[in-house]
């Protein structure tokens, strides 16, 4: 029972801090919007082409800039703070879960703010079953949050962690990025999204299992 209580408390801590500082979203979102705005300038002035690449651009920007939302943890939490939590006997898996939950919510906010800009800039056209975008967005946010938090823990204590972490996350995010882009494409064409959704679900589950199982050894090896 204390597992979920602790996870909830850790998550609330992260969200409260972000609510006050607005650092993760406030800094990352403008850069994401600029990237979305600049990309069409490098493409031919072709409305159909822009509509086709728009959803893909959305997911690329979400992965590349959204991962920094999850990396804020390694900057925001000092060694003394981490050790104080360790000394309270908090299950490392509960701490991992709480941080992932907070990052998932922040990434969903990031996606929600980025999506209207994508529609305006790329005009991808109507999506008949647009409601299916919601679970795809949730799976992408959860997967990226899991991946980012896991990489933060793996690279904790390394001097080059801030440059190493993005290099690790970007390729490992492919099982989330590719099916997410394909799912949106499929929805635009009016096709089903079972395949991409299953790949994303499997990726999220695999990352969750790895994250929870490695939370303890990673914590104990970080000093």
């Amino acid at each position: 029972m204390s597992f979920w209580r602790h996870a909830l408390r850790i998550s609330a801590r992260d969200l409260r801090i972000e609510g006050r500082t607005f650092e993760a979203i406030g800094i990352t979102l403008p850069f994401g919007l600029v990237a979305l705005f600049l990309a069409p300038l490098a493409l031919p002035a072709d409305a159909d082409l822009l509509a086709d690449v728009g959803p893909g651009m959305f997911w690329i920007v979400t992965v590349l800039f959204g991962m920094f939302v999850t990396f804020r943890q390694s900057v925001a939490e000092t060694t003394a703070q981490r050790e104080a939590i360790r000394l309270l006997g908090v299950d490392p898996a509960a701490r991992f879960t709480g941080r992932v939950a907070a990052s998932t919510l922040l990434l969903l906010g990031f996606e929600a703010l980025l999506a209207p800009a994508t529609v305006v800039l790329y005009a991808p056209g109507p999506i008949p079953a647009w409601g299916w975008l919601v679970p795809i967005a949730i799976l992408a946010a959860a997967g990226l949050a899991l991946l980012g938090t896991l990489v933060v823990d793996v690279t904790a204590g390394l001097r080059a962690r801030m440059s190493l972490a993005p290099l690790l996350v970007a390729p490992l995010a492919a099982p989330l990025l590719v099916p997410a882009a394909r799912a949106v494409d499929a929805l635009r064409r009016g096709d089903g999204i079972v395949g991409p959704a299953l790949v994303m679900t499997a990726s999220v589950l695999a990352l969750a299992i790895v994250g929870v199982l490695t939370a303890h050894p990673l914590q104990e090896s970080s000093t």
């Binding site: 801590r13 409260r16 801090i17 050790e83 104080a84 360790r86 000394l87 309270l88």
Partner: protein, 219 residues
């Protein structure tokens, strides 16, 4: 239950035999033999870089020895039993363990919510360190002395048996120096033990002084 009672009755609270610690290839501590008994206050002294803070983190079970053996609160260092005794250990390190964008009270409430047991309420703890009026102030908006007081108040909330204090007087004004003594006395009153790293030549509460130099016990 009997295991728990056994742990409580264990004497001494800390024993280290020939303990060595290294950061990568760099040895930091070597041949450390040390005992801290229940009810004892030990002052760790020595020059900068001697390994005092590292030794404190070994006592806190946060650092696994590379060599030798040790027991803290009856648990063998480097084993899962050492992790189980962590909630009975309190550490105040160089850096405060408070989140700068939370208020002083929110920081202590977080500790209280995550701790397995709470001795006194966060607001009472802040009152005891003279910060009742500043409880809603964010850490980032507080002075260094206030932050240090609130960091010490963490230990009032959980009242651990083993107190590990790394330069606890740092940043405290003359009027607040008594807070550390009070914290130590409360711990000793509960039959706990305290290890203090301090550069102060006169540490009123310390009963025994151990000097660390060059990564080993000098005296």
């Amino acid at each position: 239950m009997s295991g728990f009672l056994h742990c409580l009755s264990v004497e001494p609270l800390i024993t280290l035999h020939d303990v060595a610690v290294a950061y990568g290839d760099q040895p930091v501590l070597r041949n450390i033999d040390m005992t801290v008994n229940r009810g004892e206050v030990v002052a760790l002294r020595g020059p900068n870089g001697a390994g005092k803070s590292t030794l404190l983190r070994v006592f806190a079970t946060l650092l696994r020895p590379a060599g030798g053996t040790g027991h803290v609160l009856g648990a063998e260092l480097g084993t899962s039993s050492a992790e189980a005794v962590r909630p009975r250990i309190g550490l105040v390190a160089h850096q405060p363990a408070l989140y700068s964008d939370l208020t002083l009270l929110e920081n202590l409430e977080l500790i209280a919510d995550l701790a397995p047991a709470v001795a006194i309420s966060p607001s009472k703890a802040l009152e005891l360190v003279g910060l009742a009026a500043a409880s809603q102030r964010r850490v980032s908006e507080s002075s260094q002395g206030m932050v240090r007081r609130a960091d010490l108040a963490r230990l009032l909330v959980t009242e651990p048996e083993l107190l590990l204090l790394d330069e606890p007087h740092s940043g405290l004004d003359q009027a607040a120096l008594g807070l550390v003594d009070n914290l130590v006395r409360r711990c000793i009153g509960r039959s706990g033990a305290v290890v203090v790293v301090s550069h102060l030549t006169h540490l009123g509460v310390a009963e025994r002084s151990v000097t660390i130099d060059g990564g080993t016990v000098a005296a």
